[in-house]
């Protein structure tokens, strides 16, 4: 449960080993697994952004995919309009994710526990519905294909997966450092205090409502970042990127990997990405199998999240 505040001793050598494996991965495994690794980076960011709310602030946000999807669409539109510069795209993505979170936060932040979950779910589902119906803009369920890799200048071409892999890893490291600082900052500690006892924090003088709102916006910005990377990776965006399945997947990553810890979300992301890809490669009924697996996982492995949903204050 403790955020890692220093990287000494054994944990450092494990990290070093992991970094080495990541760097040499493309030479060790086939390109299929390189693609999976890219997905793991992206969804680790997504899961960590969700954990800011769920694990660190105690806000069980059910509509997290909204910020991911909005950023993906925004960057997708940008790309299809001809602007392929990565930095423009990612600023737009982060901004649109953060803006959506800012709007949703205003409407959701006064609710607690199950009501908060209901509202966040409804808001993101409405966005899904908008994307679904507004065919002239989003092509609805068919989605928007043909979104290419971004351009980062310096003569580097990101179209081959190999280069995109290292690029994503670099962005991933930057985000990881940013999240590390955020979660270990006074702001991060305040969030965890709020998770443990809102009333205690208020009695100490913290403006709890404001902090929860800011946490929401930060989570939206980071989720947006992962949405941008996703759309650049797979070149395609559709309404399901905004929908409940994406949001729930994020929560499952937190259950499996451990919520409230630094590396937990990443472990969960890795498990879910591998699981989904392996199962969908094995059978046409992958959705059924995944549903069954999810039910089993919740039934037997979900102790960690029981304290997150609180009724009232």
């Amino acid at each position: 449960m403790r955020t890692i505040t220093s990287l000494k001793g054994t944990s450092f050598s494990i990290l070093l080993l992991a970094a080495l494996i990541i760097v040499f991965l493309p030479f060790l495994v086939s390109s299929y697994y390189v693609g999976l690794a890219i997905q793991v980076f992206i969804f680790t960011i997504f899961a960590m952004s969700l954990d800011i709310l769920v694990g660190h602030t105690g806000l069980p946000s059910m509509g997290h995919a909204a910020y991911f999807g909005v950023a993906a669409y925004a960057t997708g539109f940008l790309c299809l309009a001809g602007i392929k510069n990565f930095w423009v795209g990612v600023i737009l993505g982060m901004g649109s994710g953060g803006l959506t979170a800012a709007l949703f936060g205003l409407l959701a932040i006064r609710a607690h526990g199950p009501y908060f979950m209901l509202i966040t779910l409804a808001l993101s589902q409405v966005l899904w519905g908008i994307a679904f119906k507004w065919r002239s803009l989003t092509k609805g369920d068919d989605g928007l294909p043909g979104i290419g890799r971004p351009e980062i200048g310096m003569g580097i071409d990101l179209k081959p997966d190999l280069y995109f892999y290292y690029f994503t890893f670099a962005i991933f490291l930057i985000v990881l450092v940013a999240l590390f600082v955020l979660l270990n900052s006074p702001f991060g500690y305040t969030l965890r205090g709020i998770r443990e006892s809102e009333s205690r924090m208020k009695a100490l003088g913290y403006n709890v409502g404001l902090y929860k709102y800011l946490a929401f916006v930060f989570a939206g910005v980071f989720a947006g970042t992962s949405g941008v990377l996703w759309v650049y990776y797979c070149g395609f965006v559709n309404p399901s990127n905004l929908g409940v399945d994406q949001s729930v997947k994020g929560l499952l990553m937190l259950i499996l990997g451990g919520s409230g810890s630094f590396f937990g979300p990443g472990i969960g992301a890795g498990i879910i990405v591998l699981l989904e890809n392996i199962v969908s490669g094995l059978t046409e009924r992958w959705s059924l199998i995944l549903g069954i697996i999810y039910v089993i996982v919740i039934m037997f492995f979900s102790e960690g999240l029981s304290s997150i949903v609180k009724r009232g204050h």
């Binding site: 900052s185 500690y189 965890r192 443990e196 205690r200 924090m201 208020k202 100490l204 913290y206």
Partner: protein
């Protein structure tokens, strides 16, 4: 200078009038005990003072400032601090992190999101100092929920002191403590500096009478008696209310 000035304070819950027309004044530096039988409204009164409940009518002034419509955290920022009847700390954080949050509360750094908290030396040092002052340094890495009930009640008080309050509200600080622990907490409260005005809700008469200079007795949500300690001790109405 009055630390707390309450005028005609009332609180209704639907049809139930829990607090009726309470007026009282507490001077800066005073030690006041609030006593009364169960259900007299003592904790409700604290909630109204500290902003966890809003009154149906009446006014509250904190060091001359009208705080009647201010939220709890805003009153805390003006120098009010409180403990809770049921221990209200951060169970899954370490003792160090618990106190740190108290220390951080009055530091402008608390909004900083781009530097690790370790880099704010003054916050870290102050947390260390508090833990060492209260002889709890050895347990700094223990999760709060793993500490004993008595230790937690003690930390509840320390937490309230970490924000360097001018007015301290203690809600039954010795509830559930052993005689030895009670004596410890009582001596802590007695040794508090005079800059901290202290209001104490207590069920344990011995503790209340040992600490207080003035006593306010609540009964059915209103003030039954209010005066210096000796006067209240000798008040027959008060004795009646307690002994039936």
């Amino acid at each position: 200078m009055k630390a707390l000035d309450v005028q005609a304070l009332s609180k209704d819950f639907g049809g139930l009038r829990a607090i009726r027309d309470i007026s009282l004044e507490i001077e800066a530096g005073e030690r006041r005990a609030i006593i009364g039988p169960n259900g007299a409204g003592k904790t409700t009164f604290f909630h109204l003072i500290s902003g966890f409940l809003f009154p149906s009518s009446g006014r509250i002034h904190l060091f001359g400032r009208d705080v009647t419509h201010l939220q709890a955290h805003q009153r805390a920022a003006l120098g009010m601090s409180r403990t809770f009847q049921v221990t209200n700390l951060f169970p899954k954080l370490t003792l160090f992190e618990n106190i740190l949050l108290g220390v951080q509360a009055i530091n402008g750094a608390r909004f900083c999101f781009y530097r690790r908290v370790n880099s704010f030396r003054e916050i870290i040092y102050e947390t260390e100092r508090l833990l060492k002052e209260w002889s709890l340094w050895g347990k700094k890495d223990a999760l709060l929920k793993n500490l004993s009930y008595g230790e937690q009640r003690q930390i509840e008080v320390i937490m309230a002191l970490a924000t360097k309050p001018r007015l301290l509200l203690l809600d039954e600080p010795t509830a559930g403590l052993s005689p030895a622990e009670t004596a410890l907490v009582t001596s802590i409260i007695k040794s508090l500096p005079r800059e901290i005005t202290t209001i104490l809700i207590e069920h344990d008469m011995d503790v209340a009478f040992e600490i207080a200079e003035r006593v306010t007795v609540l009964h059915f949500g209103s003030v039954l008696a209010d005066g210096p300690l000796e006067q209240i001790k000798g008040n027959s109405k008060v004795a009646e209310v307690y002994l039936g």
